[in-house]
């Protein structure tokens, strides 16, 4: 029994890591540009599918991964310039509907190119799973968790250790003030989308060896990223990551112990409870900083 619980914990943490990455990207763009990007999940789907196609064309795995990440990052940037930038200053709802429209189009595009088939990528490192306390932990899971750690560290270093990062933080705290000291808030928003495109694609690629890549995997990923971000209160990165892990574990236990068909329902019930009971997030108090 305890082995099963531990096993569920491992798969929950793996899944949760992906939600954490989604939430991290969502929270960062939301605080920088005021857009809750519901197309975030599509970045993951298209990143994974692109990597499948590129590696299938004979390009070595690392190169095809890098190419997929760069292409999706570019798509994120194009999206910001084409659809978000022209609508800046519109209400949050307008912006959300724009990203919903784009996510639907991207999903349609993925359906057009890749169809309804599921694809897989080979694991990044060879070797059987580690056995801890009788439960198996895939090496790929470690890669996924490593990506979360790398993303969090990278973001932290960027925001606190570089001049540009400090400028980004400034523009989150006070847009007008940032503009006054010469920071271009529009440019910051552009790079936030580029960054979240890259992060989303990487997340999709890292999870593809464990969960299959399919054209419509992005929608629920995006929603769950939002749930994770909402657990953290929508305004702090640490909360978003913890929220993602929490959601993943909760979902794994729910699916494993109650019913797998209701897997998605658990996340939404969590979302509704948070919205109705504590809209500022459960972990809101944990992080003082805005991003």
């Amino acid at each position: 029994m305890s082995e099963q619980l531990l096993q569920l914990l491992f798969s929950g943490l793996t899944l949760g890591s992906i939600y954490a990455l989604m939430a991290l990207a969502l929270v960062t763009t939301f605080n920088i540009s005021g857009v809750m990007n519901l197309a975030q999940g599509e970045f993951a789907a298209i990143g994974a599918l692109l990597a499948v196609t590129l590696s299938g064309a004979g390009i070595p795995l690392p190169a095809s991964f890098a190419a997929a990440v760069i292409m999706v990052a570019a798509a994120g940037g194009i999206m910001e310039r084409a659809a978000i930038h022209p609508a800046r200053g519109a209400s949050g709802l307008t912006l959300i509907l724009i990203t919903i429209g784009l996510s639907i189009s991207l999903r349609g595009l993925a359906l057009l190119v890749w169809g309804t088939d599921t694809y897989s990528l080979p694991p990044f490192s060879r070797g059987g799973p580690l056995f801890i306390g009788g439960a198996a932990l895939n090496l790929q899971s470690l890669w996924v968790m490593g990506l979360v750690a790398a993303a969090v560290t990278g973001l932290h270093f960027f925001l606190n250790g570089t001049y540009t990062g400090k400028a980004v933080k400034a523009s989150v705290i006070n847009r007008t003030g940032a503009r006054l000291v010469g920071i271009n808030v529009g440019t910051v928003s552009f790079w936030a989308f580029v960054g979240s495109g890259a992060l989303g694609a990487a997340a999709g690629i890292f999870i593809a060896p464990i969960a299959m890549a399919v054209y419509d995997m992005g929608f629920m990923l995006g929603i769950k990223g939002f749930v994770a971000a909402a657990i953290g209160g929508l305004n702090n990165a640490a909360g978003a990551v913890l929220g993602g892990l929490l959601l993943g574990v909760l979902e794994a236990y729910g699916a494993g112990l109650v019913s797998s068909g209701l897997k998605d329902a658990f996340a939404i019930i969590v979302l509704m409870s948070i919205l109705l009971v504590r809209p500022e997030g459960i972990l809101g108090a944990l992080g003082e900083r805005k991003i």
Partner: protein
């Protein structure tokens, strides 16, 4: 508590004071709108056209498209009240549409209710559910409200898929009987067309009454300034809830009719995509007007059919993927270019919504304006 007696007297003095024209005519003249203008002829012409169309058009395809337009118009009329008047958004309205359809399916096939009562159930069940979820949900604002309603929609959709014993799961329910009114069995598109459009016109009449009334003004007041609305005695929370229940009842009614029309329901029809489609219809037509939702529903349905016809001609062998891509792009483009809706489109339609339509309140009121305490 009664106001001071002396002041009460003064209040009534105002009424008889000074020379004044009839208040209603006054407002009309000032705005240069006339009830007996060309607009009314256009309405009569449109209604006549709707009546004659099935008699001259001998195509079940066109009739079925028109029926779907009518059903969606009913849903979007209700959504328009919620968005354009009460200033709230719902990204989960397909859930109410679906609850209506499943109510009819379950009540007729599993419980053998008479068809008309089942249709009543299709309106009542979503209404009750809206009343239950509405109060906590409508406390949310902007992003949170959008995500809350989106979550509700997904949850109901999962329910349709998972409650196998009741809903038949992903494969849906078939064998829904035709709607029978007295001795009239609505078993052809021709008959069903008249029923649907009669309901549409009735709904529009009721909404025209609603918006040109005390309640309609109160709804618009809520969407413009909740503080001011409260200060004149409007129970904003209660009113928003009523608007939510009303729009859920309309969506459920349309869903019930849909179930009788296609005699088959499955979860796929009532997912997130459908909710977004309803919002798109409301936005395109411009909620806050009477003709807007009808125009929006007609436009989006017609566009979908047009693309389905056009795309295979341009790109041989193309499937439904292109439709999805275009649908998403259209939504994005509309929101980028006209975030307040293609209100201009509805201004080409007659303004017969009486006092209710000075200007669309805007699809998505900028809630930032209401953020602080005045």
């Amino acid at each position: 508590m009664k106001p001071a007696a002396g002041w009460e007297k003064t209040c009534s003095v105002f009424i008889f004071r000074g020379v004044m024209k009839d208040g209603y005519e006054h407002g009309r003249q000032e705005r240069g709108v006339s009830m007996k203008g060309k607009g009314n002829y256009l309405v009569i012409a449109l209604v006549l056209l709707l009546f004659v169309l099935p008699l001259v058009v001998d195509s079940n395809y066109i009739l079925s498209v028109l029926i779907i337009m009518g059903l969606y118009t009913i849903v979007v009329q209700g959504l328009g009240i919620l968005m354009g008047y009460a200033g709230q958004v719902s990204l989960g309205h397909a859930a109410f549409f679906g609850l209506g359809a499943y109510s009819v399916a379950v009540l007729t096939t599993r419980l053998s209710w008479p068809e008309v009562f089942a249709l009543l159930g299709a309106a009542v069940v979503p209404g009750i559910i809206a009343a239950v979820i509405g109060r906590p949900t409508l406390k949310l604002r902007e992003l949170y409200l959008a995500m809350g309603t989106l979550g509700f929609g997904l949850l109901v959709h999962i329910g349709f898929n998972e409650a196998h014993s009741l809903t038949g799961g992903p494969s849906g329910m078939s064998g829904i009987p035709y709607l029978t009114l007295g001795h009239l069995v609505l078993d052809t598109d021709f008959k069903f067309y008249y029923l649907v459009w009669a309901v549409v016109l009735l709904v529009m009449l009721v909404i025209k009454n609603l918006t040109a009334s005390r309640t309609g003004r109160a709804l618009r007041a809520v969407s413009e300034s909740e503080y001011a609305a409260e200060s004149v005695g409007i129970d904003t929370a209660g009113l928003k809830l009523k608007a939510m229940v009303f729009s859920a009842v309309l969506a459920g009614l349309a869903g019930g009719l849909y179930a009788y029309y296609v005699t088959f329901v499955s979860p796929a029809t009532f997912g997130f995509h459908a909710s977004v489609q309803f919002v798109l219809m409301a936005v395109v037509g411009g909620p806050g007007t009477l003709a807007g939702p009808a125009a929006g529903a007609a436009l989006v349905v017609a566009l979908g059919e047009f693309l389905r016809w056009l795309i295979p001609l341009i790109i041989p062998g193309a499937g439904g993927e292109y439709e999805i891509i275009f649908f998403g792009l259209i939504l994005a483009v509309v929101m980028v270019l006209c975030p307040r809706g293609l209100g201009t489109i509805s201004s080409y339609f007659p303004r017969f919504s009486g006092e209710g339509s000075t200007k669309p309140a805007g699809v998505l009121p900028d809630i930032k304006d209401k953020g602080g305490i005045p």
